[in-house]
Symmetry: D2
Subunit: 341 residues, 4 copies
């Protein structure tokens, strides 16, 4: 049985485990103030080209989104996202739990349209009753999106420009950031992304770590006393080393990008196999999530041999499925799958 259900079905990249073992008995301070975290922060500043950046390590994606958004917003503000955005759909209302509305715009294969964003903001500020409504205080996008798509540099710039114009920050959810940047379709680098937003995070959980997300405020613009906010949100690890060591390893010798590229290579192979056999795709994804459309019969053929996710049923009775690769996907699994489909 092989599985393509998601990108967090294995543990951590072996190099990470090796480092955890090697450093295990070294006594260090808690709460992210250890030298592993310091080292990881330095490497991330360099990799992002943001020498002034503030970098914090949190544990998981939903937690990171809620903590960052809540800390950056004022009490009466909400965050704009597309209606398929992770915070709008699959985080159990963690943002609303913190008191903030998620204001939704249409999703275009998971992406926000810069023109629609501007139009929304124009309309809001032009409406004399706006003080009776939730103030749009921030924009949230994910890179890549929940549908595996990515923004071009120009699109990101356009969204950022609107944010600058309306004086609200842009936050990029990078739970799968590595897979986005490693995509052949990507036309921007990590530092180029960092320069076009006010906060983002580098996802570890889905890209080789056991857990962990590195939050970056590129211009040293962390919200005041963000450490305390992290603690208050229950997101502070006593053994911060667990995160520091992992990100230090991931940002040594380009490991983060190397393993991300592997996942993309496997995804492209997988796509080719499906395409060669004449399968259609629900959407054209250039990253590690692929969405082939399967008939019931095709699904039955894989039953008990391959795991994957079924997302939805089409009116014609076929199914939208998701096959995800990761840093851990062996070439053999793709080959095995190729023989089964």
């Amino acid at each position: 049985m092989i599985s393509f259900t998601c990108d967090y079905i294995e543990g951590a990249h072996p190099e990470i485990l090796k480092r955890l073992v090697e450093t295990n008995m070294i006594q260090v301070e808690g709460y992210g103030e250890d030298h592993f975290c310091d080292s990881a922060r330095a490497k991330i500043k360099e990799a992002t080209g943001c020498s002034e950046a503030d970098v914090f390590f949190l544990v998981g994606g939903t937690q990171t989104n809620a903590t960052v958004i809540d800390a950056m917003l004022r009490r009466f503000e909400g965050v704009i996202a597309v209606e398929t955005g992770h915070i709008a759909v699959h985080e159990s209302g963690a943002v609303e739990f913190c008191g903030h509305k998620v204001i939704t715009l249409p999703s275009h294969n998971g992406k926000m349209d810069p023109a629609e964003l501007r139009q929304y903001l124009e309309h809001f500020h032009g409406d004399p009753t706006w003080p009776h409504m939730v103030y749009p205080g921030m924009v949230y996008i994910s890179f890549p999106t929940e549908y595996g798509t990515i923004y071009s540099r120009k699109e990101l710039e356009q969204i950022h420009d609107v944010c600058v114009e309306y004086k609200i920050p842009l936050f990029v959810d990078g739970a799968r950031l590595g897979y986005g940047l490693a995509s052949p379709a990507a036309d921007l680098s990590l530092s180029e992304l960092a320069a076009r937003c006010d906060a983002f995070y580098i996802g570890g959980t889905k890209v080789g770590a056991l857990c962990g997300e590195a939050v970056v405020f590129p211009k040293g613009n962390a919200p005041r006393q963000f450490f305390t906010s992290i603690k208050q949100h229950g997101a502070l690890l006593a053994k911060g080393r667990l995160l520091g060591i992992q990100f230090d390893t991931l940002f040594t010798d380009d490991l983060y990008f190397k393993i991300a590229r592997h996942a993309i290579d496997m995804a492209m192979l997988l796509r080719k196999e499906f395409a060669n056999k004449g399968y259609e795709f629900y959407m054209d994804s250039p990253t590690n999530q692929q969405f082939p459309i399967l008939t019931q019969q095709q699904m039955d053929a894989l039953d008990g041999k391959v795991h994957f996710e079924v997302w939805d049923k089409l009116p014609d009775g076929r199914f939208i499925t998701r096959f995800a690769t990761s840093w851990a996907t062996p070439r053999e699994n793709i080959d095995q799958l190729a023989q089964l489909i």
Copy 2:
């Protein structure tokens, strides 16, 4: 340089790392639905003697306290704790952040007095203006307390009896549970503790794990849809295996208690060394945290050689210090310390 600053300065017990490495490439489901978590849950049910228990794995202590308390309370209720309780002092207001007041009673070396608890509740319910006040909806104690002290079985029973009488649940913060139960002063077992409260957690972070706390609702009395609450609080790990494997290891062959006992053995030795040299103690702790009182001169003598925490200054100019041992403290460190004090 040796350190006694706290019980989370090293990584994880080597057996845990070994298991993480061995199981690393096994593909499993996320979010705690994997077989490692299942196995850990089964072992914890057995160890607690609660075959009907609901068991959940969360990441850290503050997070666990906030999530459990918020899920068990109604909106208008608060939680009773002693004024030195961790939730009242050192969690950045995480409980209040969730909307609930921490109602404080006096601390007696970190412990709550059952009689004072009853008195408070009697007074509250006898006050005709009580609907204008925060309803005391839960009792929170820690075992051991923030001062290393522990409740006797009788004291725990008395507190539990008051809770039963007033129909409010008792929640035990067990961030250092192992060290409490392993203390020579403890007169109750894990299952005896489990039988005398409505919820508690078995601390992993401070007792051998990289991170992780196992929340137990002994009578299968988890709040409705607690899984969703965990997610909403940002406390759900995608790679739940990280927690499952750790707790499965800790509850195999009694490892959790063995390593806790080691920490206690070391603490008792440490205490003896200080006592033999004539040091006084701020408080008589039977667990892994010891509070010797040092003069400035004595502190200077340790400078650069031993790390420990300074808690407060006494009126006479001496200092209350904290020396903590853990599962990882080697006997040699105690010997070294003995020569320095």
Copy 3:
């Protein structure tokens, strides 16, 4: 200058002011425990045909929605509303401020479609990932809606049936309840409405009172300790008499319905005048809010003579306007308007 901008531009019905003056120096208890409130509660129980009802008096609409919804939901639940619902649009995110997502369904002239509601709930419960999403814990509708439309008895029943099927309560925002029930298009009475929901409120602010909304839990099903929740939400008046006297007056001699009927009579006249002159309407409203479409020229003609609200601009350059009548609208104002349009 005459105004039709909304239904809260005047003070209170004169009978209310008279009663406030007459009773002014009578000494009574605070917080709604006075005999005026008792009397008003008794009259409302009778008028709603709910002898077991729990009745509470709050101050304003947004406050009432947030307080009731927050008290009826569990922490991890959200409330379903149409996307034009007041709580979704014009309450500054008061529901999210309390921690709950407003889950939106399409709006059909302000109304929720029972079939779409069922479909949403079916889909939610059929999705295996639902524990990662906000649990739909309640349905919110307004009667009449923000567009002046009303549910038929059958439609209300259908929505209620879905709620019963999914075991979630139905809450009816009755900020303009009187105007809805007094409409010639209404085919249900107050007691028939009360029998088909789990909570609703009788709007006072917009139907003759200075302020005040009477919340009714028809089956005595108020959330536990709702009084404390009201206080916690800042919604408890020290001088509860202000609300008690007003509702006691409104529910004496059918005053609430008499004055609501007057508003409807005036609205129907107003509509006829516009219709007779060939104006189109944005939507066919049977209640006190009317939405004639005006050209720029027609707007200019009214400038400085009549106040009304402009809601939106149509693609053809014309404007959707809102003209609202109320208990206070004199017949002469309609006649004056008729001469101007």
Copy 4:
């Protein structure tokens, strides 16, 4: 039967009712944007000597405290109050409901000691673990206090100085402000108070209004978009005129202070009567709340003739009672009481 139970047992000052009646049918805008509110704001600016002030009208005390405190604090901050402060005791946890801890200092007859405040802040900022605790972001005091006592100008200055030193705002709860300023013991004026804090409110509910509290930010320092915060907290009245007219009346011809002085005159008479008869007082209050100590026999003698509050029982079996006067207390009631005690 006469009552001294509190200062909100009657309706409103007759002049207010008169104005409500006179202005009733004037059509005005909602939400506090009417000319009555404008006029009241102008008069309050003049009375407080703060020409740059921002003035807002809210409905009740608990609501005002929660709204102002939540809007002025950052997410991770708490508010410092004495342990008898209204927000700490009698507001059902409304401040914690909004996510903020109420940090308590000792109460000295209801007052905060400036030296203890400084000591607390010094200790907090000197503690290296402070980022793990709730940041003290604001100071709350009440004038007069819940025990009827008042701060001298010097005491207020000292507290304000500490706030300035630590760069945190000082907020004064003036639910009974008039009674404090009208006290013969008061050595400061309204404008002098306004100059020594960052926000305060002028209580209407307890000083002649049906409801209403006027929040003043003396230096035009209202939190950004405070209007929206008011709405979000459910504190915005659609018919803002109700508050505007009341405060406009109270600040015309010095009415607010005249009626406050009357209450104080009656309280001083009442105190003299008790003192002349040899009664002791629990505390020496210079304002409208008096706390004579009664035996059971003395209580029995008043039974059925006079209403008052019993606050607590002394160890010797006697009772601490509260007798409150107000703008509405007639001289005859004092005389009647004098004959009964």
